[in-house]
């Protein structure tokens, strides 16, 4: 699978590694829902580190679309809500 960390670029991640990332992603979502900024920062850092660790950088000159897109490393909960509010999935 190809994952993109916004502001960083694309990574190739083996399918079997996705489950682990899903858990980390779940923690990010829980923190966003709870509005817990400290938990969010830690969870996002863990998720992105996970992607960087299990993934290898995707070819720079490829025109492949990513399967999954992740928020930038310096994102706040507000930023993520803003990104997701693009077509109103999260109210407010």
């Amino acid at each position: 699978m190809i994952l993109r960390i916004l502001g960083e670029g694309q990574y190739d991640v083996a399918d079997h590694a996705i489950d682990r990332l899903n858990d980390l992603d779940g923690a990010v979502e829980a923190a966003v829902e709870a509005g817990d900024e400290a938990a969010f920062t830690a969870a996002l850092a863990a998720l992105l580190d996970g992607v960087r660790t299990v993934g290898v950088p995707h070819d720079l000159d490829s025109l492949d679309e990513s399967d999954l897109i992740l928020p930038p490393s310096d994102a706040s909960i507000e930023d993520v809500r803003h990104l997701l509010a693009g077509d109103g999935l999260i109210p407010g």
């Binding site: 000159d61 025109l63 693009g86 077509d87």
Partner: protein, 250 residues
């Protein structure tokens, strides 16, 4: 997969929406390529802007550090002259400066990080724009308008995602730089107002300098007086000393 998946869907939808559509799908490729080149020059300008802000902060840091060193020197000199009150004043000002310097260092680190991010974004976009150009020429040369659509969609959505990402990176960098420029402007004003005592205004000096100067010129006078008194006591060497000095100069 919630956050990742939702974000991907939204991002893709936006990227697709932003695509220009022409009657002949092959023309779409040229339109898109033009926009890619524009974005590439935007990101280059973004890198230059952030670098300018970073250099401005470096300049301010140098000024403030110079001022800090000057205050330190004044404090030492004041103590040598037994003026603890002046030394205290100089050190108080120096500690106020230290706060500003810390703050500027943090900003400097942030700008450096932003500059690096944008430079990398530029590299990534550059590589993708190059391959898009090659792909575009191949598609135009090989396929009829009807056949081309699928290939075009593939090429467009891949680069559309990168363009969306780079566009966001530029926006974030601009926002950060704007905040820091406002603060840098405030510090420039502070320096200009003399509140931080601009070290470059040698003539004006500051009150601590003035007092130290007054004291040292006073003590110079005393030293000179003592010397003259000492010299005038014995009769003979009175004329010899200046003469000896002149002799060395010749």
């Amino acid at each position: 997969m919630s956050i990742m998946k939702r974000m991907s869907l939204i991002f893709r939808a936006k990227a697709n929406k932003a695509l220009d559509r022409a009657e002949d799908p092959r023309e779409t490729l040229d339109y898109s390529y033009q926009r890619q080149l524009e974005l590439l020059s935007n990101v280059r300008r973004g890198v230059a802007d952030v670098a300018t802000s970073r250099k401005r902060i470096e300049l301010q840091l140098a000024q403030l550090e110079q001022q800090g060193a000057k205050l330190q020197g004044q404090a030492e000199k004041s103590l040598q002259m037994d003026r603890e009150d002046l030394a205290r004043e100089a050190l108080t000002r120096k500690s106020a400066l230290s706060g500003q310097i810390e703050d500027l260092r943090t900003q400097h680190a942030q700008l450096q990080a932003e500059e690096e991010k944008l430079t990398n974004a530029q590299k990534r976009l550059q590589a993708k724009v190059e391959s898009f150009r090659t792909r575009k020429e191949t598609i135009k040369a090989t396929y009829t308008a009807a056949e081309a659509q699928t290939r075009i969609n593939e090429a467009m959505s891949g680069i559309g995602e990168e363009m969306g990402d780079v566009g966001m990176a530029i926006q974030r960098a601009e926002d950060k730089t704007a905040t820091m420029q406002a603060r840098a402007g405030a510090i420039d004003e502070l320096i200009a107002s003399g509140a931080l005592d601009d070290a470059s205004s040698v003539n004006a000096g500051d009150d601590i300098s003035r007092e130290l100067e007054a004291m040292s010129s006073k003590s110079d006078v005393e030293t000179e007086l003592m010397r003259l008194k000492g010299l005038s006591a014995p009769a003979a060497p009175d004329a010899i000393e200046p003469g000896a000095g002149e002799g060395e100069q010749r």
